[in-house]
């Protein structure tokens, strides 16, 4: 097997599972250590640099980092990364944060950029380009910035004050925001001679369900995302007593919980698929169930039942899921009598689509499959070189953190483009690798590994929170619990770096390693090598760190990164410092870098 090239920035990046899994590659262990030290503002700023909305994401992120967390492979549960982010946001010093905002040049660079849509993707572009001297106009049809973060995420999950603060950090940089301004023509924007245009308009069209009775009962049938935004903007403040929510995603969870708060007594979530395939995050489902909302699986809607011109219920066909050899699912009717469920109102939350009726098709902007614009996956440039896309508008519905990641990359492209450089020649990410040795057997990080199980986030009392749509349900960790949870982080960014020229093959590292990661053995091909390591090495998603065979016995050192605790014991027990614990920092390429 070829020796590992640790100079490749992606090698150690991949070892930091949480950071690697995060679309924006936030340096998670770094900010968790700062939370452990009580340095909340520092922790917040690391987040802010990377994901722009730490307070929002600390409450609502889809947390791709958590299933990736190494701790999840070592014990039962990952570190509560998302909720720790909130600890940083909740406890930061607001004045200190304001003073650390990037300086905005008084003298502009003369380039004008238009952002269409005021959601996370557009705001991220503004955040990255404003400090470089760009002049930015932002257009949005809502009355304030934030996009879907404002209209789709209910206040009981995300208080408005938190959103306002983080949106304002960006708008206050001097973005010229045009709210209540629906852009109905891209051409009209291009005609204003902007140097670049960024489209971050999300996926604004909720899917409908055209089954019998839809038209007759339309008064009491609501499209989930539109209904949520009407609630958010206070156009709607009540709903019937019995409500059916169709769909199993996060929007469905938000609809059912919001219905309860608008006066519904009986809310049922009804999904076509088996429960295990519901798209909602497990914690969103848990929260809904905690409020007493039942979920019904394997029910395919047949019709809306209308009596006297009024919706009275729905009929469903009970099905079971069958899978062919390719794993493709089909829902097969059980052939039973249709199930009738009474209701006064129905929310349809079965997905959302992109829609670009406002983009003229003669602007050199190509549209491809599903009438989606053709956008480069790395540069976010469309086929009209001046127009860039990001967030849900680029490749369909994802989530906030993905939109932020898109925004950063689009900003890099816009900056390169407007400086006359090729957008596909992107500067490399910034990395540093620094020894953490403070003395003999002393490290600058807390290398002890605690046994604590994941801490549970406290919730507001259910009866209280159902009365008030704006009362935040999750209360967040207090500082003490935040510290304890932070201690669970394994510090995966503190890398075990091996120097074969120093190794005397005393086996001390092999003997001490709690998780049997290290083996000295004759070289071989990876597949075969994996069968003769100190412990089973079956997780192929995790790399083997392999030395050259220039060791005294011509064997190689193989370290399976899979369940390394980053405890530093190999380096402590190494008599020659052939092992060293070095902090790896990976910074995603930023505009202007």
């Amino acid at each position: 097997m070829k020796a590992t090239d640790i100079k490749d920035p992606e090698y150690f990046h991949k070892v930091v599972d949480c950071q690697y899994a995060c679309p924006a590659h936030t340096p998670v262990p770094e900010y968790i250590r700062l939370i452990g030290e009580g340095r909340y503002t520092d922790a917040y700023m690391i987040n802010w640099e990377s994901n722009v909305f730490p307070g929002v994401l600390g409450r609502t992120c889809d947390r791709p980092c958590e299933p990736a967390c190494r701790r999840d492979r070592v014990e039962d549960e990952p570190v509560a990364i998302c909720r720790l982010k909130r600890v940083a946001a909740d406890n930061k010093d607001d004045d200190d944060v304001s003073s650390r905002m990037p300086a905005i040049p008084a003298k502009k660079n003369g380039k004008r950029v238009a952002l269409i849509g005021g959601g996370p993707a557009s705001l991220t572009v503004a955040r990255d380009l404003m400090p470089l001297g760009y002049t930015i106009d932002l257009y949005d049809d809502q009355k304030a910035g934030g996009g879907f973060m404002r209209s789709q995420i209910p206040s009981f999950r995300l208080p408005e004050s938190v959103l306002n603060q983080e949106v304002d950090y960006i708008l206050d940089m001097g973005v010229d925001a045009h709210f209540n301004h629906y852009v109905d023509s891209l051409k009209s924007i291009l005609d204003k001679n902007y140097d670049a245009v960024f489209v971050g308009t999300g996926a604004p069209r909720g899917r409908d369900l055209n089954i019998p009775g839809r038209e007759e009962a339309k008064e009491n049938i609501h499209i989930g995302i539109d209904w949520l935004s009407s609630v958010a903007f206070e156009h709607i403040d009540k709903i019937g007593k019995k409500v059916i929510v169709l769909g199993g995603g996060n929007t469905a969870m938000d609809c059912c919980r919001t219905s309860l708060r608008l006066g519904a007594d009986e809310v049922k979530v009804i999904v076509r698929s088996p429960r295990a395939e519901m798209k909602a995050s497990p914690w969103e489902i848990e929260d809904a169930e905690r409020e007493g909302i039942p979920m019904f699986e394997n029910h395919v809607p047949l019709e809306f039942v209308v009596e006297d011109d009024k919706l009275v219920g729905m009929k469903f066909d009970k099905v079971r899921a069958e899978y062919d050899e390719n794993g493709k699912r089909s829902l097969v009717s059980l052939g039973e009598e249709p199930v009738y469920v009474e209701c006064d109102d129905v929310c349809i939350a079965i997905g959302q689509d992109n829609a670009f009726p406002w983009i003229e098709r003669d602007l050199g902007l190509e549209f491809g499959k599903w009438d989606m614009p053709v956008v480069n996956r790395d540069t976010f440039q469309s086929t009209n070189p001046k127009v860039f896309f990001g967030g849900d508008a680029a490749f369909g519905p994802e989530n906030v953190i993905t939109a932020v990641a898109h925004g950063h990359q689009a900003a890099v492209s816009i900056d390169l483009f407007l400086n006359g450089k090729a957008v596909d020649e992107r500067p490399a990410p910034g990395t540093t690798l620094v020894s953490q040795k403070m003395g003999i057997h002393e490290w600058s990080y807390d290398n002890g590994v605690v046994d604590d199980q994941r801490y549970v986030v406290p919730h507001a009392d259910v009866s209280q929170s159902l009365k008030d749509r704006k009362l935040e349900v999750e209360l967040g960790f207090d500082q003490e619990t935040g510290f304890a949870e932070a201690q669970r982080c394994l510090n995966c960014d503190i890398q075990t770096v091996f120097t074969e020229s120093k190794c005397i093959e005393c086996d001390a590292c092999v003997d001490i390693c709690p998780t049997d990661c290290i083996t000295f053995t004759p070289s071989g091909e990876e597949e075969e090598l994996r069968t003769r390591l100190s412990a089973p090495a079956n997780n192929l998603a995790q790399d083997l760190y392999v030395s050259t065979d220039s060791l005294p016995t011509n064997r190689i050192m193989v370290k399976d990164e899979n369940v390394c605790l980053h405890c530093g014991l190999c380096a402590e027990r190494c008599p020659t410092a052939a092992w060293d614990m070095q902090k790896f920092m990976y910074q995603v390429t930023k505009a202007g870098q």
């Binding site: 070592v74 057997h441 002393e442 014991l569």
Partner: protein, 350 residues
């Protein structure tokens, strides 16, 4: 410095016949110098006892004084231990063994504890064929007192201080062979592939089993000029061959060439296979072993591996016809058999 080893282990660790993982056989975190050969030996003992599926509470670890003798703290934390007086481990081991013959006895000693202060005790444990594994963690120096030459340091070998040692060494394997040891092996702490099967065979052997293990002292005796440093040992190693230990319950699957391999069936039915690197060796012959050790020494080589074993060895309990049961299992009626038995004894003496 870390004083506690994290509690997490690899989630897919194999389990042995008792359902235990290796973790159940570990001890406290070592306080020896980083890189000490002794820690590797502790690791090899953990692995061997785990693989043999011996219940930890059926093992007694006995040691004297020295770096080596500290190590029983660092392995088999769920076993019994007795850290005795300098050089007196064999006496304590003898007492313990006499009291309970059902346990596994692991004696851990060093070159000072065995070849200097404990030489007399060592000699008598060997000649009595006490049923135990006696491990010498041999680094040629007194590490605990800053590295003075020990009685096993080779002539001319230089420790960190830089003075060549003027005295002839005591070669513990040769001494043991001459005193009638029934299992004699030498190994190197840095070669677990050889060491682990040797430990398994030594534990399974009935009688006194010596493993003299060259175990470099990284702090005082791992410098150029030392004959017991990692580099010198690796450059001068020669093995009698590779050893396979096959427990009784397992089927022998490998095929062995007569002439270059030798097979020994142990008391408990397990089998030791030696794939000989040197055809001159006959592991049933003391003379062959002694001659070969001398030959290799003359070539400036350290001969390791299994050197001698007597599968028909008669251990001390058999020789003195002692109680078949551990003393703790004797009941009152067995200990005080009553008047009738006393009368019989008295009658027999009339």
């Amino acid at each position: 410095m870390s004083y506690i080893k994290p509690n997490f282990r690899h989630p897919e660790l194999p389990v042995n016949e008792l359902g235990y993982t290796k973790k159940n056989y570990e001890g406290a975190i070592s306080t020896l110098c980083a890189g000490c050969g002794h820690d590797s030996i502790s690791g090899a003992i953990v692995q061997a006892i785990f693989e043999l599926s011996i219940e930890p509470h059926n093992v007694a670890k006995l040691s004297g004084i020295g770096c080596s003798s500290k190590t029983p703290t660092y392995f088999l934390g769920n076993s019994h231990g007795f850290n005795s007086v300098h050089g007196r481990m064999p006496s304590v081991a003898t007492g313990a063994n006499m009291a309970n013959r059902e346990m596994v006895y692991i004696g851990v000693s060093g070159d000072g504890d065995t070849a200097s202060i404990g030489m007399g005790q060592f000699a008598h444990a060997v000649r009595r064929n006490l049923n135990m594994m006696y491990v010498v963690e041999n680094n040629g120096c007194y590490g605990l007192t800053k590295g003075q030459d020990s009685a096993t340091a080779d002539v001319g070998s230089m420790s960190k201080k830089g003075e060549p040692n003027p005295f002839e060494p005591i070669d513990l394997v040769s001494v043991a062979l001459q005193l009638g040891a029934t299992f004699v092996a030498r190994s190197f702490s840095g070669d677990k592939e050889q060491l682990i099967p040797l430990i398994k065979a030594a534990i399974s052997h009935q009688g006194f089993a010596l493993i003299d293990i060259v175990s470099p002292c990284v702090t005082f005796n791992n410098n150029a000029g030392s004959t017991k440093g990692y580099e010198h040992v690796r450059d001068h190693l020669a093995a009698t061959g590779t050893v396979d230990f096959v427990p009784m319950k397992e089927e022998i699957t490998a095929s062995y060439h007569p002439g270059t391999s030798q097979e020994v069936t142990l008391h408990d039915g397990s089998v030791v296979h030696l794939h000989k690197a040197d055809e001159k060796l006959d592991i049933h012959s003391r003379r062959s072993a002694l001659a070969l050790i001398k030959d290799y020494k003359a070539q400036d080589k350290i001969l390791t591996g299994l050197l001698y074993m007597d599968p028909d060895s008669q251990e001390l309990h058999e020789t003195i016809d002692s109680s078949k049961k551990p003393l703790r299992k004797l009941t009152e009626s067995e200990l005080c058999p009553g008047n009738k038995v006393l009368k019989n004894i008295n009658d027999s003496l009339r």
